[in-house]
Symmetry: C3
Subunit: 318 residues, 3 copies
């Protein structure tokens, strides 16, 4: 593997899952693989799970790790070409990226959607600039439109907890006070669409996702029908994708909060969320604290997905 | 040892001191003990000595270290249960703690007293949540009411510099412009009370400490009597503990500043302070710069106390 | 080598260049040299290249690395003696420096000129305090008046790309919106003056550098004459050095921007800059993106200069 940006980079999924299983069973088996190799983690946005789990994964592989928070202790970066740089940004990303590439062997990048310009966000400008200019393998630690390390960990978790070969997996929108990107639901849909699960998406009208990610998934606007028989309920907020509404919070209707009443409609469904989660907005205290909640094992599998991806990239460097 | 929160976790002190001596004599002898083990250091507050000395201690033991500054590059954490999280805190500590526990083997936590609510502070809510929810050994890098790695380093230093078997150790309040927690004096008293030293506490009226920490120590309000014959003068500011005054600065009376005149009353006492220290508030330039000042060897022993504690926790994981 | 503050610490340059060549050819050959040795990197100012390249250099040598951003997560430092510390700075550098020295084997320090007080800046107060009080070898990661790791990397790059034994090297001032220190041009001049190159400095009147750094270099105010026949054009902005103008931006005259027209006067000169660079102020997009631009190989050589210096300091510790 060279870069890791979406599910396409690890197909077929059965192979990816087999590799993940190996990594989880023997996390220190490849300690020599990363020797003298340095991972640079570049954050344009906040992070807890990704920051810690990716470091842990790299350390398990014997790598050195350097963490760079672009907005803390480094220089602010200009991203547009042709600008006369007489403002507050002392460095251009066209220099900064190849420079970063000089000091490491693999680069992880987190760069969220700005939610101002859909076309700009959906072109994944920053991730693609890193691929084009760094000279090093690049993996997404959540881009503008996808969060593939999260989706991979989600898939691993579902595989570990599913009680039927083809579970019904429900992705449900849930309310949130702020405007959030579509990266997690987009990515989750993209991965689910590569499985043979029964995959259903539910959300209020107006919160339709990009058709390219939804693909053949069933979109069910009736909450009761959506929940009925579900084996997994995957909650997430996102802002509007469509047209002029892009990046907007249309409403934060609490009828979409995941609660015990809705969970009672399911087939004893497990509850999932990528975290961080707003309690009593996205999900009630009792549901997230119930035995059906998988949020912690799901987060723990972030080490497994990151280590599996890093291992394949390291093998590609041999 | 599982967790390290107070002197109770390393009793008897003679054993703890013997272990510390081993560590100081051969800092790299246990380089294999920490192999493939990751220390996560979580800071809710600023740190210089603890940040550096604990990293050094862990690196000496061959561990990997991940540092997380909660207020820099991570998500702000909600700490109360039942809240509708529609404000500025995107993550709940009830998720964040078990998640952190997934990505490491041992957790160090710094969480100062808020000084708003004595009962809340003295319950050590955050440290106890880490113990309850992280699933991993937890040690204090200064909690709301104790700073045991500091007190352990203080004890090691006194043992190294004492000229009589049972020195007189004086803990004196000293002025400071801001409201500081009682963690350092509480903890120092708790450790001194486990020794056979002559232990005296002096402070202005109104700055009485919690009786649980003072225990059998002599409290001497007369400054001259307090200093006379002292072998060690340990200065520290703290805010009021009592009742409605909790967390308040009652005054910053410079008569309590440690100066050459007071030191002249002692038995050539060594001067100690945990640092950072406000010069010419807590102590005059000439006293802290005199040969009697132990502030640097005391700080250096922070590596020893941290490494001794980490070593015992690592042994507990075997 | 004990400390590394200027070119004087690595003379003669032929030896330094030979050591750098060894390091570049076999970056992992001295992996055992840094075993159990800890590098502490202390930043009083922002950094991208220095932060990453110095870490990479230390990791290549098998060292442990601790990064401390003084203004993030540590305590603000008082630097003047005799002050009653009742303000916003809780710690004095006279304690902080020896404390830092306790927790590491080598210290790198970045402390820019404040540009308020020329005498204070040119005495390199902070670097010299680290040398005086830390008890450990200290190297400059850019001081108030020099940036020797940059100059060393610049020299390595010129040696790699020069097409004649004694190339003409032009250091040119270029416009910038803010007041910048003289550290990079001072240091570059100091290193060039140790070579047998033809070394020319050009800048607008009023931007004269300190004569101690200029030494025997030719200062040419006529831009056309300066550029003609140059093999390397090294651009950099700096604020005024002279008298009452110290630290001021006299103007940001764009006639000094490095552009294709000026580069056409040269002998197919390579373009160099230490980065970060303000595009279309210092240099036009087309020049920095041309094949003649060496900014990326120059940045890559920062690992080589840092590793060469660290290796010599480590050898001095044996």
């Amino acid at each position: 593997m060279r870069n890791f940006l979406s599910v396409k980079d690890v197909l077929p999924l059965q192979t990816a899952l087999a590799l993940a299983k190996e990594v989880k069973a023997k996390p220190f088996a490849d300690r020599e693989l990363g020797r003298d190799k340095t991972l640079l983690m570049v954050f344009f946005n906040s992070s807890l799970r990704t920051r810690l789990s990716t470091q842990k994964a790299a350390l398990n592989l014997g790598m050195n790790v350097i963490v760079l928070d672009i907005n803390q202790g480094a220089w602010k970066l200009e991203t547009e070409r042709g600008v006369v740089m007489d403002g507050d940004k002392p460095e251009h990303i066209l220099e900064a990226i190849p420079v970063m590439g000089c000091y490491c062997d693999i680069i992880g990048v987190r760069a969220f959607a700005g939610l101002q310009d859909r076309d700009y966000d959906y072109r994944e400008v920053i991730l693609n600039q890193f691929i084009q200019y760094s000279g090093k393998p690049v993996f997404s630690m959540e881009g503008a439109t996808r969060h593939p390390l999260q989706s991979f960990a989600d898939l691993i978790t579902i595989e570990e907890y599913k009680k039927t070969p083809r579970p019904k997996v429900l992705l449900t929108w849930a309310p949130h006070p702020n405007a959030l990107p579509q990266a997690v639901p987009n990515s989750f849909a993209e991965w689910m669409n590569q499985t043979d699960y029964e995959f259903v998406i539910t959300h209020p009208e107006g919160y339709e996702l990009d058709a390219e990610f939804v693909q053949g998934a069933v979109v069910e606007y009736d909450l009761e029908k959506a929940y009925r028989g579900a084996d997994f309920v995957y909650a997430k907020n996102w802002s509007a994708y469509s047209g002029a509404q892009y990046g907007k919070v249309l409403h934060d209707d609490r009828r979409w909060t995941v609660d015990a009443q809705k969970m009672a409609l399911t087939s004893n469904a497990c509850f999932m969320h990528c975290l961080p989660v707003r309690r009593n907005m996205i999900v009630t205290d009792d549901v997230i604290e119930s035995p059906a909640s998988l949020v912690i094992p799901e987060a723990a599998n972030r080490v497994v997905s990151a280590q599996t991806v890093l291992r394949e990239i390291l093998r590609g460097l041999l």
